[in-house]
């Protein structure tokens, strides 16, 4: 084990070494984490993986040029080699007046008040972790006899210590825990096909994880409803986005709020600051200081304090997101959105991004139109950052008068993000913060489905 103090000393000393080697500025991020994954199948332990993982990343600045090095090898001679290399790399590029660590800033948020570390989770025995996975698997099987297999139920958790030091004298550290329980239920369908349904829970605190019973039951439900899909024809229809689908969409289009894309005029929101682009019902928030938030951190990858940023307020564009470098370039202030792992240079990203909870129940939304498509699954790719165009493979349920008529797969759902934001007619009351990006269910007035044939007219 490496102690917290040893990690702080390592970060601080590496910054000092970089200065001695010729860097006029430097910062160092050290990651030290204990990781565990346990997987069960058919009631038995299938896989256990555990390790203590470490790494250090150093940014060195020499006369406005940047070099970056990182390594999993923290032996002193390896660090010394890395420092020399970072400084050497920082002589190759051209001078950039905006490069460098942030100017001195206020104190970072107090890590304790953000409540990121659960000592109960940190001390949890392996047997109890595996039992949660077994219980979730059993719940999936027990929920419905049509569940024929459960494909690997996984409990994983991480205990991480993040340390950041820079040449302006900053030395910060925090510890954080997280746990995740996930299962995937399978049902046999015709033609040798299977239908899968997954459900997971992810939290900082053990006591806040949803129960294994809920995880298993939800996965089983999600699989069973997809049995026996029926083709539908190409048409324009209202779309009810499942919270997972909505979260995936907002994770994609949040890139349009990235200050770097704005500065480079590469975002379709470039000219939209202060304008109303979304329905009154839509408020979008990035919140780096959410208590116990899965993506909360006291400081960002530049070492600046994180904060809560309102991106859309009742449909109006309020904030674009910045790290220190792009903020300096664009003549504005960092919003505390530098994201950085030990092996990556900082880049702009979001934390606990979510659409604020609405007031509609899912039942109300299902009944809002005589017929609609309830989108519950999607392919991995289909968003175009430059235009906001949306075109995804989809599966889900065909709904008439609030009732499920049949499952649907093999279609695509397409639209454009700006039209979709403006077309949100109801926001669900089911926001459930798990993982870094979340949304309640969203009802959109009209999108295009590609299915059988081509559209009439």
């Amino acid at each position: 084990m490496i102690s917290d103090k040893e990690l702080r000393d390592l970060a601080h000393e590496t910054v000092e070494m970089a200065r001695k080697a010729g860097a006029d500025q430097a910062d160092v991020l050290v990651e030290y984490s204990r990781v565990f994954t346990g997987r069960v199948r058919d009631g038995k332990t299938d896989l256990i993986k555990q390790a203590t993982r470490r790494g250090l990343g150093l940014r060195a600045f020499v006369g406005g040029r940047t070099g970056f090095v990182s390594s999993s090898d923290l032996r002193p001679d390896s660090i010394a080699m890395l420092v020399d290399r970072a400084v050497a790399l920082a002589t190759i590029g051209e001078m950039d007046p905006h490069a460098g660590i942030p100017e001195a800033s206020g104190a970072s948020n107090a890590a304790d008040s953000l409540d990121l570390f659960d000592s109960e989770l940190a001390g949890l025995a392996t047997d109890r972790k595996l039992k949660m996975a077994r219980d979730a698997e059993a719940a999936a099987r027990d929920h419905d006899k049509r569940v024929t297999q459960v494909d690997g139920t996984t409990f994983s958790d991480t205990l991480a210590t993040i340390t950041l030091a820079n040449s302006a004298g900053r030395l910060d550290q925090y510890r954080a825990t997280s746990a995740n329980l996930f299962t995937l239920a399978l049902c046999d369908d015709s033609g040798g096909k299977q239908r899968s349904g997954g459900y997971g829970t992810s939290r900082r605190f053990l006591k806040e994880l949803e129960s294994p019973e809920k995880v298993g039951t939800e996965a089983a439900r999600a699989a069973v409803v997809m049995l026996g899909p029926v083709p539908i024809s190409t048409r324009k229809v209202p779309i009810l986005m499942h919270s997972d689908i909505a979260a995936a969409w907002l994770g994609a289009f949040s890139g349009a709020f990235n200050g770097e894309q704005i500065f480079k005029k590469a975002s379709y929101l470039t000219e939209k600051m202060g304008q109303k682009i979304g329905s009154d019902l839509v408020s979008l928030v990035d919140d780096g200081v959410m208590k116990r938030g899965p993506a909360t951190a006291p400081f960002d990858g530049d070492g600046l304090p994180t904060q809560r940023n309102v991106l859309l307020d009742a449909g109006v564009v309020k904030t674009f997101l910045y790290d220190a470098y792009i903020a300096r370039k664009a003549g504005t202030r960092s919003t505390g959105n530098a994201q950085r792992g030990y092996d990556t240079t900082p880049g702009i990203g979001t934390r606990n991004l979510h659409i604020l909870n609405g007031t509609s129940t899912i039942e109300e939304m299902l009944k809002a139109y005589p017929a609609l498509f309830y989108m519950r699954d999607q392919g991995a790719f289909g968003y175009t950052p430059t235009t906001g165009d949306y075109s995804y493979q989809a599966a889900g349920l065909w709904i008439e008068n609030g009732q499920v008529v049949h499952a649907v797969d093999g279609i695509t759902v397409a639209g454009n993000t700006l039209q979709m934001l403006a077309g949100i007619v109801k926001v669900g009351n089911d926001l459930n913060i798990q993982g870094g990006t979340n949304s309640p269910h969203l009802l959109i007035d009209e999108m295009t489905i590609s299915g059988e044939g081509t559209q009439a007219g």
């Binding site: 332990t45 299938d46 390790a51 993982r53 790494g55 040029r65 070099g67 970056f68 090095v69 990182s70 390594s71 999993s72 090898d73 390896s78 290399r85 050497a88 790399l89 002589t91 190759i92 590029g93 051209e94 950039d96 297999q149 494909d151 299977q194 899968s196 997971g200 190409t234 689908i245 979260a247 995936a248 994609a252 890139g255 990235n258 480079k264 379709y268 994201q339 092996d343 990556t344 880049g347 990203g349 991004l353 392919g379 991995a380 790719f381 289909g382 950052p385 235009t387 165009d389 075109s391 493979q393 599966a395 797969d409 093999g410 695509t412 990006t437 295009t448 489905i449 590609s450 559209q455």
Partner: protein, 521 residues
């Protein structure tokens, strides 16, 4: 899943999706910001030798490996394995004509796996310290509960032959300034191509990796792999109309590769695609004839076939292909290979990450399913032999069955004949990424450069769109196979269980009688 670094990977319900991607290490923070890439190597002096990979036996002797294997078996495990690795990644990003960063990353350590029946224990150390490694061996070995441990067999050094050998691998033999100069040439070519080009981002990425794998059955194998990739994204701006295009070049190539493969071509390629899309219209929604271009179009075989042939899904019967051996699974004009011996291929190697020799597997023969892709564990549990498909992201990950270079073999039609045969359809010249749900076989591909076809002619560009279908019938709908097989060696990155692995994909130009095309029109 196979992905492109220029397109985001959504964070949604993708837990079971398997991906093919294009970035060198797409797993690292493929966040909302968009572009991610991995680090590249930086050599400041320009003299070869400053960046060479160390011999792993300097860190870990054979006796020490035997000692770790013995410790790993002490709780009664049936099989133990040690995987030691030293990898250097180098990256350069040129943005707005300036070097945004030059990155150098080292990943070095040892992973230990113990198998007992169907159970796997895995542990690793970011270190070669024997105290830490013995502890990791104990942790991995604890999966077995029998008590008494066996002894590892004496090592037999692998006699596997490399399918090709690089005399002067680019990552460790080209100076950082020279890599940067390649980026600048691409940037200049893209900007010079058209006045509408408003932004150009050029990313250099390379990786030099050496590993050794040894196990309690006596396997001792070492290999090294070198990947290089140059990527360009160009944006065209016309009023408020923004479009982007991409170009890429590289593979497991020699230091002088770019002397005969001018980097300017990818700047021109990216700029041409971006400008062309300014006039693009949305694709027609519906199900109709589709032609998919050669090379990277092979993402299709990767998603429709490759994943569903992997031995874990076959053993556990979670794949739709588990019961299809010997059956007609594709049109009779279709032959599919998984081949880790492709010269300079992105998924090529001497031995896989379990020490098994590379091989060429003919998995689909005239439309009949003939074989699966096996790693050691799943082959052992089903009475098969590994087909050399046991691969892992790094020593921090356990091996799982993965594709290498997967492609559809060439046929007899010319690409011109194929396009001329389409009355009203879509021509997909380039794809972003694809994904598949192996349980249902539902797949999707993202078309990033597409054209409407009418009466056998290309009539106009379409905006990005998604194709979808089901693997069980899509391959039956291949009605023409081109004679222009091309294997993409540059940028395929396949994601599965959170592990990313470089792969090759390939195909000739193909025509499908129908595929569902996403669209708003």
């Amino acid at each position: 899943m196979l992905s492109d670094p220029l397109f985001d990977i959504s964070s949604g319900p993708l837990s079971r999706r398997e991906f093919l991607g294009r970035s060198l290490m797409a797993g690292v923070g493929a966040a909302a910001a968009g572009l991610t890439w991995d680090a590249l190597t930086a050599r400041e002096s320009g003299a070869a030798g400053g960046n060479q990979l160390p011999e792993l036996t300097k860190f870990l002797s054979r006796d020490q490996v035997a000692d770790i294997l013995k410790a790993a078996l002490s709780a009664g495990g049936e099989f133990a394995e040690v995987y030691a690795e030293y990898t250097i990644n180098t990256g350069i990003r040129l943005d707005e004509k300036k070097v945004k960063s030059i990155d150098y990353n080292i990943l070095s350590g040892v992973g230990i796996r113990v198998i007992d029946g169907e159970q796997v224990g895995y542990a690793y150390a970011d270190s070669y310290d024997m105290t830490e490694l013995r502890e990791a061996a104990r942790v991995a070995g604890a999966i077995a509960k029998k008590g008494a441990g066996g002894s590892p067999k004496p090592f037999q050094v692998s006699k596997a032959k490399a399918p090709f050998t690089l005399m002067s691998p680019l990552p460790v033999n080209l100076a950082e300034q020279a890599k940067l100069e390649l980026c600048r040439r691409v940037d200049g070519a893209a900007r010079g191509h058209d006045a509408k080009i408003s932004q150009v981002t050029v990313v250099w990425g390379d990786q030099a990796k050496r590993f050794l794998v040894a196990n309690s059955l006596g396997t001792w194998a070492e290999d090294e792999q070198y990947l290089s990739r140059l990527t360009c994204q160009a944006q065209a701006l016309d009023g408020a109309n923004r479009q982007s295009g991409t170009g890429r070049l590289g593979g497991q190539v020699e230091a002088n590769f770019f002397e005969t493969n001018p980097p300017e071509q990818i700047g021109v390629r990216a700029a041409t695609a971006a400008v062309g899309k300014l006039a693009a219209k949305p694709a027609r929604a519906g199900k109709y004839e589709v032609v998919i271009g050669n090379g990277w179009g092979g993402v299709l075989a990767h998603e429709c076939f490759g994943h569903s042939l992997e031995g874990d899904g076959i053993r556990q019967k979670t794949s739709v292909r588990a019961t299809q051996l010997g059956q007609q699974v594709a049109a009779t004009i279709v032959d599919i290979y998984d081949d880790s011996t492709v010269p300079n291929g992105r998924g090529s190697f001497k031995v896989d990450d379990e020490g098994t020799s590379s091989q060429k597997s003919h998995v689909v023969d005239k439309g009949i399913l003939r074989g699966y892709l096996w790693d050691f564990l799943n082959a052992r549990l089903t009475g098969n032999n590994s087909s050399g498909n046991g691969r892992r992201n790094s020593y921090r990950d356990y091996p799982i069955p993965r594709m290498t270079n997967t492609y559809i073999a060439g046929g007899s039609s010319t690409p011109e004949e194929i396009i001329k045969s389409v009355a009203n359809g879509l021509y997909c010249k380039d794809l972003g990424g694809g994904s598949v749900d192996p349980a249902s076989g539902n797949f999707s591909f993202f078309v990033t450069e597409g054209y409407q076809l009418e009466k056998g002619e290309i009539v106009g560009a379409v905006t990005n769109t998604t194709l979808t279908g089901n693997a069980t019938d899509a391959m039956m709908k291949i009605v023409m196979v081109g004679n222009d097989l091309q294997i993409d060696r540059v940028s395929g990155n396949c994601g599965k269980e959170g592990q990313w692995k470089p792969v090759g994909v390939g195909q000739p130009t193909l025509k499908f009688s129908e595929i569902t095309v996403g669209g708003v029109a």
